[in-house]
């Protein structure tokens, strides 16, 4: 049975698309047949982060409307055999994502893939609801910042009351916390929420902590999911997260500020 995982957050710009691309790529690198779907109708971005924007012909809504077959819309990733991207429509409005249509596409995909990763749009409107409705598991992406944490809590409430699993009294959606853009230097100065604070407030199991890193922008500039950059701490943290998701034990890394050197301390820098 394919597992459906939504990457969600409530708040915009916290790293859902970055995470969807890295996580799906990581699962594929581990040998699992994986498809990643862009639910952000009208604001398609996953294609850029995955580097396949010039190969988009048909999209998710074309498939729902029967204007294209699923295999015509799926784009094979250029790096990984096991990975496909299903792009969002850039032109239609969100209402074209009907619940029945989404369900039909997901159950078709479930025949061929091990993991279906859904990149949710921001907000709690229709597109975000459709992205999370059919999920078996949710990766709640949060920045260590007050509005993001509050919105994540909102999304947890919605997962617990308005998802398919909740509405049908099935086993609840399995929740994972992913803290993104963590900056240990700013945490040590007392100007950014500590990891422990975020964990305590949201009270769901921690799947990963991705550090703030310039490599994320560099990777998206090139259309290469950051998990491919093995020297990058963000890439390494994403690989740890994937391995943890698959049940391996991995200690959380990159949580401490680097110690200032003797010279830096002598001259008063940080």
């Amino acid at each position: 049975m394919a597992k459906i995982i939504v990457i969600t957050s409530g708040k915009g710009g916290v790293g859902k698309t970055t995470t969807s691309a890295a996580f799906a790529t990581g699962l594929a690198m581990k040998g699992f047949k994986t498809v990643v779907i862009d639910f952000d109708v009208g604001l398609r971005n996953l294609d850029l982060v995955m580097g396949c924007e010039r190969r988009v012909v048909y999209d998710f809504i074309n498939v729902i409307n029967g204007e294209a077959r699923l295999h015509q819309a799926l784009i094979k990733d250029k790096h990984s055999e096991n990975l496909c991207v299903l792009p969002a429509s850039q032109t239609r409005d969100k209402d074209a994502l009907t619940k029945e249509g989404v369900e039909a596409v997901l159950s078709d995909l479930a025949k061929d893939f091990d993991y279906i990763v859904c990149d949710s749009p921001a907000g709690i409107e229709h597109g975000a609801m459709m992205a999370l409705y059919f999920a078996d598991e949710a990766i709640v992406t949060t920045n260590p910042e007050i509005s993001s944490v509050r919105d994540s809590d909102r999304i947890l409430g919605i997962l617990q009351s308005r998802s398919r699993r909740a509405e049908n009294n099935l086993e609840p959606v399995k929740e994972h916390l992913l803290v993104n853009r963590y900056d240990p230097v700013r945490v040590s100065k007392g100007e950014m929420l500590d990891l422990e604070d975020v964990k305590e407030i949201l009270a769901i199991p921690l799947l990963g902590v991705i550090p703030e890193s310039p490599d994320v922008l560099k990777a998206s500039n090139k259309g290469l999911p950051v998990i491919h950059l093995q020297e990058s701490i963000a890439g390494q943290a994403y690989m740890d997260m994937v391995e943890r998701f698959l049940g391996e034990e991995r200690p959380h890394r990159f949580l401490e500020a680097p110690k200032p050197s003797l010279i830096q301390r002598m001259f008063g820098g940080k």
């Binding site: 910042e145 007050i146 909102r154 009351s161 100065k189 007392g190 100007e191 929420l193 500590d194 407030i201």
Partner: protein
């Protein structure tokens, strides 16, 4: 703040501590939102009406009125707490 203090602060030794404020504010708002999360859809509108009625007699802020709906078995209890100005 002494001259020495301000010298060191300007040299990047500043400890900000605003994250502590963020944490406390978050704990309060999240707890509040969780308590209203599973309530019926009419609850916010009813809360608004109760505020209006109370305000006909005493001047209170919406934040001084706490409304909570708890279910006990097959009955529900609506608890309204109003903090009146001293």
């Amino acid at each position: 703040m002494s001259l020495l203090d301000s010298f060191f602060r300007r040299n990047g030794h500043e400890e900000d501590h605003s994250a502590d404020t963020a944490r406390e504010r978050l704990k309060i708002i999240v707890a509040h939102e969780r308590s209203t999360r599973n309530g019926p859809d009419y609850l916010p509108a009813m809360q608004q009406d109760i505020v209006t009625v109370v305000n006909k007699y005493v001047n209170v802020n919406p934040g001084d009125i706490h409304i909570q709906l708890d279910s006990l078995g097959d009955t529900s209890v609506l608890e309204v707490n109003v903090t009146l100005p001293g």
